[in-house]
Structures are given as C-alpha cells and as structure tokens.
Symmetry: none
Subunit: 275 residues, 2 copies
DNA sequence: GGAGCGCTGTATCGTATATTACGTATTTTG
DNA sequence: CAAAATACGTAATATACGATACAGCGCTCC
C-alpha cells in the first residue's frame, strides 16, 4: 500500500525518463519542501524546465500542480501533528532486505558506544590533540579507508599527521621517525593482518602510543595498544561492517577539533576565517 | 531575540486589531501550514477577507505575501532537516558529550534510509552486479575513502573494478576506457569539487552510467547522474558526517554480493571455498 | 544507416493570485 | 452625543503562475 507521495515516487522512479527522474530526486532529497514551492523554482532547483515538472506530477497521478501541492501539505500536516510517527520507521511493508541491515548497523553503534565511556574518548582526543608529537594512521585491507578518512580531517586542523600507505616496506621505514611522543592509530579487524601486527609491535617497542580500532574479538594488537576501541561488526551480510568504527572515528575527529578550538590553537582560528 | 515568525506573532498579537488577531490565531493554531496556502484560503480559514491577511503580514514586517511565505518555508526546512531537535531527545543517562553526536548520526541514517526505497537500492545493486561493463569509483577530498572502501570490497567479488586515485590528470586519462556499459560511482558532498563535476560531466557525455553519493543539498553532479543517493550529513560538529553514506555503501556492497551469489557466479563460489 | 518514436525545452496563452483603491461600518474621543 | 479616525470588506487591476501547443533533438529499433 502506498501512503505517501515519497513512496509513490520511489516506486515509479525507475520507469521515469531522465528529466523527470531529476525532478524526483531533487524532491526526495529535501522532501517535501521543494514540492511546496512554485513550478518555476522547482524546475530550476532540479535543473529542468517547468513542463517537465508538470509532466512529473502528472505521471504521479495528479490532475494539476495545485492538487499535488495540497496533497503534500496534507501529508506535512499529518506529520507535524504526530511527532512520534516520524521517529518510528514504518516497518517496511515488503519485508525488505535493507531494513535488517540498517537495524543491525544501528544496533552495532548503540552497543559500541555503550561500551565506550566519555572518559576514554576524551583521553584519546586529548592524546590526538597534544601537539608535542606526530600522529600516524594506518589500516588493514578493508579498514585503511577509515584511516584515510580520519587522516584527511586531522591533517587539516593540525600539522604532523601522516597516513601510512603503500607497501609494507614503505611504512616500515617510517618507523625511524616514530618515538615516545608520537601516536599511531591502527585499524584492524578480522581477519587480522600479520603485517599490521608486526608493525604495531615494533612501533610499541619504540615507545609509540597505540590507539587501536578493532572488532569485538580484539585484534592481537590490543596487547600493545594504549587505547582500544572495540566496535561491533556483525550484520546480515557476507561482509563485516565497519560502520560503528566509522562513527567512532567521526566522533573522535569532532572531539579533537573541539579540543583544539578550546586550546585556542592559532591554526584553528585561521581555518575558521577561511571557511 | 526573535528567531521564528511564531515568536514574532505572539510578540505583537497584543497590538493587533480584531481581524488581524483572528488571522494570527488561525496561523498559530496549525503553524505553519496555513501560511503556506494562498491568501484566499488563509482568509477563509481565518474568517476574514484577503486584504486583512495582507495587512497582517505587512504588520509583521514583510513587504509582500510571497516574502512571508518563503520565510516560513525556510523555517520549516530548518526544522525538517534536524529531526533530533524536533523529537525531544530523552536526556541521555550519563549526560555525555558524545551522545548528541551519536544520536544525530543515528537520526541521519534513519532519515537517509527513509528516503531510499528498496527498489532504488536493488536497481543500483543490479547495475553494479551487471558484469558486462566496468565499474569505476572516485570520491572527493573527504569522501574518497568511502570510494576506496567500496572498491576494496567490490574488487574482490568481481573483476573490472577500479578506484580512481591520484591527481586529476591521472583519472581524466582513464575516461578513454569508459563507455556506455560502464558505471561510475562518485562520492561528492559539500563543498562540491569542480574537478569532480567536470569529470562527471565528461563521463556522462561518453554515456557512462553515474551513481552519485551526495548530501541532501545535491551535488551539481546530480544533473548527470542515473542514480542519486542523498544522505543526511548534519551533526553537532565542525565537520559534516559521511556516516550515513557509509552505511548505504555497505548495504550496497552486501546487496551486490548477494546478487552475484544468486547469479551463481563462479568467482563467488571460488571465493567461498577460500573463506 | 535510416525511419520512427519518445523525451525535452521554448514560447505563448489563459487564469488564478496577490495587490490596491475606495466606500462603508465601527469604534473612539472630545 | 457627535464627529473623526480607524478598521474592514468589496471590487477592480496588474502580476505572475500554471498550463499547453509545437518544434527540435536524441535514442532505439529495424
């Protein structure tokens, strides 16, 4: 059963020609506001002409544009009156395949954060924000993108942030640069990579502080790590999910940024003037 | 400080004549929907004449009715984009600083998937699993790790998956290899990168099918894209969050894998024997 | 490679909408 | 109680909005 225009659109979006599909996508992207504007505004927002918009609403089964708009308004009215209905996802009618995936992921995140105290995060953030040493980041086969993501942000708000990429021999050579004041952030989930474990161990012996992102079964690197973040990874898929770790990473990025702002770092002020 | 029209009204409602007061009360009663309708509808709803409505909005300080309406729409847009603010957060038990970040992220995911039908995801998955063409992936400054993450998985279950890295000139040269049967997956969130837009446009002209991961404000690439995934990115942080897009990516990876399993691809069987 | 079809944009038209002018009713004040 | 000022609605007008006809273009299918 189709109850909202949004559903109606996503139901038929596959059968639409290119122009109308653009209209559909722009409407969905910030639903339902674009639909409440005039045809002209809608059309420029979607990058198509006004007749295309009208053909689009006609395809959805409306006689004219005003009828389409008032339907949207009725929907909006119903939403605004019952806040609860919004929070609650209507259980997907067709027993979909994506819903369990999403639910599992959300559960993973809640679980992950439940076992993660503010103090832990604050400690790690403080360590990462402490600019007396360098920060290195590295990840495994599937998690290296997370290391990159974190490095991309941290490198902006502070100097001396390095992502270790390429072949093992390349980053092994970087060990020379690492010492007691430095931090090494490692991402390692099953199946744990020997090369990473060896690398972590050597770094640990040199006095480098290790921050480990791993799964709930804990990479062997946990033995050497100063801080361990254990994320839930189980989802109904052939692959493990790194989403929980990703969110922790984002949270840390935010915390470090705030920390540096609080420290009044000149770099941050300069950064803000650029934004 | 007066931030919303509702406040503005309740501030001045005392000084209004009877007719305009009725207009004000009608608007407040089911705010802000009545204000989005036409002057005529507004007037009948309030039981007054249209000029009274116009005098009412003029008294609020607006030059004309459309200006009043667009202000209301902007307000509504701000509300709808941050579901967290509406839903009345249960005060987190430990009054933590990470909680708002997590809550916002969870909201973003629910909201993102709410606008994403199974059908859409299935279509994209089918396209990605269709092995008659090649798959290219690329991302922007902060989102390229997502492209890498997806590429790392897809490249295992099927051949001809390429992540485009390095300098712009490098991937521009790869355009030669791209044609009608190929798919280009692009990640682009604010601030949208010109280089990516140009690249997408050229690829589109060559007949390449574009799958775009973007934010709710839609990258300009949406004009050329066959499929658009609009993820919510707003979090209480100095940075935008890509977590919702990350989860969509993982969901897609899972869907493609399942699809290929269903197709009985030899590669998958071999893969499973290796696991 | 050619013919047909479908999609899209430009230009135009009719109409509904916001706006303004004006007259009447109602309240207020001396 | 009278007179003036304010408020409100009716009616006319101009604007801008939605709708439509038509032509050009690309695409698909013989």
């Amino acid at each position: 059963m189709i109850s909202s225009i949004a559903e109606l659109i996503s139901d038929r979006i596959g059968t639409m020609p290119a122009g109308e599909r653009r209209a559909a996508q722009t409407l969905i992207a910030n639903y339902p506001l674009t639909g409440l504007k005039t045809v002209a505004e809608f059309s420029t927002a979607a990058g198509v002409s006004s007749p295309t918009i009208l053909r689009f609403v006609a395809r959805l089964g409306f006689q004219n544009y005003p009828e389409f708009q008032s339907t949207l308004q009725d929907e909006l009215a119903a939403q605004l009156q019952s806040p609860a209905s919004r929070t609650f996802n209507p259980p997907s009618p067709n027993g979909s395949a994506v819903s369990p995936m999403l639910e599992a992921t959300l559960d993973n995140m809640r679980e992950t954060f439940r076992h993660l105290s503010d103090k832990q995060l604050a400690d790690i953030a403080a360590k990462l924000a402490d600019r007396r040493g360098k920060t290195f980041l590295i990840g495994g086969r599937f998690t290296d993108p997370l290391a990159r993501y974190m490095a991309a942000h941290l490198a902006i708000i502070q100097p001396n942030v390095f992502h270790l990429a390429g072949q093992e021999s390349v980053w092994r050579d970087r060990l020379i640069d690492m010492g007691k004041r430095d931090v090494l952030v490692i991402f390692d989930i099953r199946r744990y990579q020997d090369s990473l474990v060896r690398f972590a161990e050597t770094a640990h012996q040199r006095g480098v502080q290790l921050v480990l992102f791993t799964d709930q079964w804990l990479s062997p690197i946990a033995r050497f790590a100063r801080h361990v973040i254990a994320g839930r990874t189980a989802v109904p898929s052939a692959w493990d999910s790194s989403a929980a770790l990703f969110v922790v990473a984002e949270t840390l990025i935010g915390a470090v940024t705030r920390q540096l702002e609080a420290d009044g770092a000149k770099r941050i002020r300069e950064l803000e003037s650029l934004r």
